[in-house]
């Protein structure tokens, strides 16, 4: 069942399906894609902090943190 990355929970392993579900590809999503978040990339949601508005994900051997607002644009499925 696909859902938004912003709806994931701590420790969940997901697979990215789509990087721009809100229609257009913003500058921010392009930046994330250039950094390796691509459709088909497996991620581990290390920590999602709704209070702080940030998410930390593990991918390709390193950890990246970005805003939940960006995560709302990303569609994933649970692995």
């Amino acid at each position: 069942m696909p859902k938004k990355l912003s709806e994931a929970v701590n420790g969940e392993h997901v697979l990215i399906q789509n990087m721009a579900i809100n229609g257009q590809c913003t500058n921010n999503s392009m930046r994330l894609m250039d950094m390796g978040l691509l459709p088909g990339t497996p991620l581990e949601v290390f920590r999602i902090s709704h209070y702080g508005g940030l998410i930390i994900v593990k991918l390709r051997g390193f950890k990246l943190s970005f805003r939940i607002k960006e995560a709302e644009n990303i569609l994933v499925t649970t692995i």
Partner: protein, 698 residues
């Protein structure tokens, strides 16, 4: 024939040591201009350096040999070393720009030709850096890779097989640690080698490959066949400009059709497909060349992070860290060291200087200039060295260990309300030591507007200089509540900064949504050498400020305070006193409308530390603490003392800070504006405190 002149472009992600490499290559001597039409800085310089001279010495250069073109070159290997220009391009993550800065870099790469591109890459996050590298390689132009931060990679537990990398990519790969200048010789060698065109190619899926050949038929005469592949790829990825420039007019419609059919066959945006395949290739490449040495480190990092970024524990842990930082800096280590240093300065050192000058039979006014002007002024600043360096040491330790990234993560939400992001946190913390390096740290922010706001807010972080003033006044008027009062001043500074930040957000950042992406590196035990270098980097700015600006201004101040039209006079009749008296009426409503206060504030403009030494001079006190406190108690009362401290906290950034602001922002407009609003805010707040306070409490 080897070229006498060569131009290189320096390309890479932000924050990988590009500036450090540029400085190494040019010996920090370069020209700064602007890229045409935009407010992006353009740095260009000649490759210089002692290592180059060593090359000459080794090869037997020595005798000023110049060729017919006026270029210097080496007799033995005939390599021309001078007249090699290097241009620093803004940091980019890929050839698809998202900001003005990036656009400049990409335009340059596409349109200008250089002899070689130097691609600087961070060995500890190759996964990300290589994406750009592959795109550059696909352009099939001469490239040299500077593989920087190999020491960081090692401390993360892995290393890279540079020979294999070089072989597979077809370009020289030079491991370096720019921070300590390691690898520079090999880089020079790689640069002066004859240029080799890498034959690197990523094979994409059949649809894309057919698309590339298909588009190649539509190119007009403006494009050389060797460039067809990368331009075709760019067009497939959506680059309109290149499409219009290189596709024949009559074939535009066909090209469009082709792209459309490709899109249908791939069932996904073409740019995504290409990006995906590049990353596939990247992963395989990395698996080939990365050598994992220590897998344990990752596990520890996980465990620590679960606590440190925990919802409930994260922020308290953060505050404990901040508290400890300040405790160590001020109470435990810094202040005792400072007292020691001050004792030595005023005692043995001053005596030695005075005796020396008397022995040399120098003019009394010169002796006075050196002792009262220079020693007092500069000395007053230098005694801060222990505290500042300790603060920077702790910050560098936190940065190196990886904690700072987590702190930025925790601070992001708060800072986001001001339109900034978590990364702005570090420059502001450094600002608590000294605003000068604090402002310089703002360079790590990628967005120029966010950088501007962070720089403008920096002066409201109470620097150590202001503590000196606080310490003096609180020890006299608020002895029993010293800590509390000083803390209240710190807090006031932060509150004003927050309010001002909100104002700036509304008018300067105008709805731009900040973007926060930060890598969380694995934790590690900091390497002493690295922290030492990092501390020195920050601290040397403070020393430079003291050594130059404050020294110069101390002399000026001394002159102004001892002279008048009629020659050398008492301070109360000097130029400075006249200036002070002009200010006095404006300061009266604030509770300190005397020429002495005016004079102290003027001198504080030079450097806020100077306020105390000036006060000790104007109030004629020999020994600072005892006599000065007696005099001060006659002139100030608790309320006006607090108002005075608030004024010092908020009014105009000191001169060195303004100079650095100008340097980092690029114009005088903002520093001057900051003087205006900070003096305004200082005046209003001090006014309220004094008027209301004296009615309520006295």
């Amino acid at each position: 024939m080897k070229p006498n002149q060569a131009t290189y472009a320096l390309v890479g992600n932000p924050n990988v040591g590009k500036t450090s490499l540029f400085n190494l290559l040019t010996c920090s001597r370069y020209d700064v201009g602007n890229w045409a039409g935009v407010t992006v800085e353009k740095k260009e310089g000649l490759i210089r350096g002692k290592r180059m001279r060593r090359h000459f010495r080794h090869h037997g250069y020595g005798h000023g040999h110049r060729c017919q073109h006026g270029n210097r070159y080496c007799d033995r290997c005939h390599r021309t070393i001078e007249n090699h220009r290097i241009i620093d391009l803004p940091g980019i993550y890929s050839l698809a720009p998202v900001s003005e800065d990036e656009q400049v870099a990409v335009n340059f790469i596409f349109n200008e030709s250089v002899d070689k591109i130097i691609n600087i890459v961070d060995a500890s996050s190759l996964d990300r850096n290589l994406y750009l590298t592959f795109q550059l390689l696909e352009m099939n132009r001469p490239l040299v890779m500077a593989l920087n931060m190999t020491d960081v990679a090692k401390s993360y537990g892995f290393s890279l097989d540079t020979d294999k990398m070089s072989e597979q990519l077809g370009i020289p790969v030079v491991p370096m640690v720019t921070r300590v200048g390691q690898g520079l010789d090999k880089l020079y060698d790689a640069l002066v080698e004859p240029a080799v065109t890498p034959e690197f190619q990523i094979k994409y899926n059949s649809v894309i490959e057919e698309g590339i050949s298909g588009l190649s038929k539509f190119f007009n005469g403006n494009l050389a066949p060797t460039e067809y592949r990368w331009v075709a790829l760019q067009i497939i990825e959506g680059n309109q400009e290149l499409k219009e420039r290189y596709i024949k007019q009559e074939s535009m419609a066909d090209a469009y059709q082709l792209l459309l059919s490709m899109s249908e066959k791939c069932k996904a945006p073409l740019a995504d497909v290409i990006r995906d395949e590049r990353y596939h290739y990247l992963e395989q490449f990395l698996a080939d060349v990365k050598i994992i040495e220590e897998a344990d480190r990752v596990n520890w990092t996980e465990r620590i992070d679960r606590i440190v970024t925990n919802r409930w524990l994260g922020i308290p842990i953060f505050f404990v860290a901040i508290f400890l930082t300040f405790q160590i800096t001020f109470t435990w280590v810094g202040t005792p060291l400072q007292d020691l240093l001050e004792g030595w300065f005023r005692g043995p050192l001053s005596a030695w200087v005075i005796n020396g000058m008397v022995a040399l039979d120098l003019q009394p006014w010169l002796i006075a200039l050196v002792v009262d002007g220079i020693l007092a002024g500069v000395g007053g600043v230098l005694v801060f060295i222990p505290q500042i360096f300790i603060l920077f040491l702790i910050i560098s330790f936190l940065e190196d260990s990886g904690y700072m990234a987590r702190a930025a993560f925790l601070m992001d939400r708060g800072l986001a309300k001001l339109g900034l992001n978590g990364k702005a946190f570090i420059p502001l913390v450094v600002g608590f030591g000294c605003n000068v390096p604090g402002i310089m740290s703002a360079r790590t922010l990628e967005n120029s507007r966010e950088r501007l706001v962070t720089i403008l807010l920096n002066p409201f972080m109470s620097c150590t200089a202001r503590i000196m003033v606080y310490a003096l006044f609180t020890s006299i008027f608020f002895k029993s509540h010293q800590g509390l009062v000083i803390f209240s001043l710190y807090l006031l500074g932060i509150v004003v900064a927050i309010l001002l930040g909100l104002v700036f957000k509304k008018f300067l950042l105008r709805g731009e949504t900040g973007f926060f992406v930060m890598e969380m590196p694995p934790y590690r035990i900091p390497i002493i050498k690295n922290i030492a270098l990092s501390t020195w980097d920050k601290g040397k700015e403070f020393l430079k400020k003291a050594g130059t600006i404050i020294l110069a201004m101390s002399v000026v101040l001394w002159f102004l305070s001892n002279f008048s039209y009629s020659g050398m006079v008492e301070m109360s009749e000097s130029f400075l006193a006249a200036l002070g008296s002009m200010l006095a009426p404006f300061l009266a409503p604030l509770g300190f409308g005397t020429w002495e206060a005016g004079v102290s504030l003027i001198s504080g403009f030079v450097a806020k530390e100077v306020v105390v030494s000036t006060m000790s001079i104007v109030y004629g006190a020999g020994d600072i603490t005892t006599q000065l406190s007696a005099t001060i108690q006659e002139v100030f009362n608790p309320v006006s003392a607090y108002a005075f401290m608030v004024f010092i906290l908020l009014y105009a950034p000191c001169m060195p800070t303004l100079v650095v602001m100008r340097k980092e922002i690029g114009s005088w407009k903002w520093p001057l504006f900051s003087i205006v609003y900070s003096v305004g805010i200082a005046w209003v707040l001090a006014f309220i405190i004094y008027q209301v306070g004296s009615r309520l409490l006295l």
